[in-house]
Amino acid sequence: MISFNQVCKRYPGGYEALKNISFDITEGEMVFVTGHSGAGKSTLLNLIAAIERPTSGSVIVKGQNISTLKGGALPYLRRNLGLVFQDHKLLFDRSVFDNVMLPLDICGFDHRESASRARAALDKVGLLPREKTTPIALSGGEQQRLCIARAIVNRPSILLADEPTGNLDAEYANDIMDIFKSFHQVGVTLLIATHETGAGALLGARTLILKQGELQSTDETTSHSTKLSNIDSQVAAYPAGSGQT
């Protein structure tokens, strides 16, 4: 589903955000990316969504090479991705409901079908009673949940979340992790970046650990029990040493 092959990302000025990263994520897998801030987590997610392009190496998402993808094909790739942003990126000039409608409007869905889909997504994150308010009236946790609702309303096959529980207290964070777990159960591929190192282990998911742009290890917890048995072999193909540069 997602495949990194010797990916480097160097910014103008010489700063290397990612160094020689290789890993694979199979369909339906839930994977955590952890590391301190500045370790390259956000860059890694940005490369998948083609918000940034790799300096070298290849990033393959759903069989498409991001580094050679033409500008015109980009929107159609992104429609398959659900993006949950650290800063939510909500539109405050319109209602909660209209925020969730945006991806559907972009795809040009029939209005009635869109509306019922949007309400279903809001219901899923527990915001349906607040659909008419503006996002400014929502708490931090609610805004994050709204961002998730907008990310999933398109029924994407891949969900990328950047620090989805970043500034939230434990209770909200647990709510959100529960939501992610339910997506995992219906077969969505999830990649969640977080600075909390234990989060992945807690949910029994594979964790990629980044340290100063290098992939330290791909921890696979023993409790990782999933319907997809081929994940083990995938992980084994990329041992801890893959981050050497």
């Binding site: 929107p75 159609y76 429609r79 991705l81 990126k89 945006l102 409007d105 972009i106 907008r150 990310a151």
Partner: protein
Amino acid sequence: MMNWLTQHLRALLFSLRRLLATPVANLLNVLVIGLALSLPMGLYVLLQNVQSLADRAVGTPQLSVFMNMGVGKDDIARIGRQLKQSEAVDHIEFVPREQALEQLKRSTGLADVIGGLTQNPLPDAYVVYPKRTDAQTLETLRDEVRKWQKVEHVQLDAAWAHKLESLLKFGRAALLILAVLLSIALVAVTFNTIRLQILTRRDEIEISRLIGATNGFIRRPFLYFGLLQGLLGGIAAWLIISLSLHLLNVGLIELAQLYASNLALFAPSAGDGLALLLFSACLGWLGAWLSVVQHLWRIESK
């Protein structure tokens, strides 16, 4: 196909709502565009009026051969034969003095003055239609006929028409320059309006791009806005011109009545008006397109 239509309809409605959301600011914009367009359009209408006046006054260039007062029937026939024999002449038309007076009464509206005359002051005349209408041929013919006996005067009717024609040509050139300059102004006005809109909706554009909006989707509402604004500006220009012509005609008709004539400026035809609307809508669209494309290009090259 349905989907495509819905998307366009949605963008159009969205732009309309945006237009109505800030009515005063948009009204001023529309007015500026209307004024900018009404200047060249007004000049165009004026030129058309002059042109039609000129067309009514002279058709093709011709010579009028006026004979002496009290010329005999024999001489009239002789001059007619001579004219017909001339190589440069295509055909001729005899205008007896009674008929000439009658025409004058009808066409100039000087019926009162003419009615007061005790005798007909007009001579018998031939109107000569030459084969070729270039100045050289006409002048040679004039000079030749002038020497004939019993010919009082030869009038080359085309001379002042030529002068008018070159004056109109000058007017058209001025019109073209004015139209080009003010079209650029219109594009600039739209460009700036759209640029401001883009700035206030920068977040929306950024987020839309992140969740899979094509450039076409992002451009669409802005393009419709530019189109609508241009169209409304065109309508404003049409109204301004119609109103101005109406006001001018009130004065002009009064003036013409003093001369017992019916002179009035005519309004632009429906075809010209629709062309104006189409033109201004296209310019609005162009201004918006330049603005959005420039903005998107700047984002993408970042």
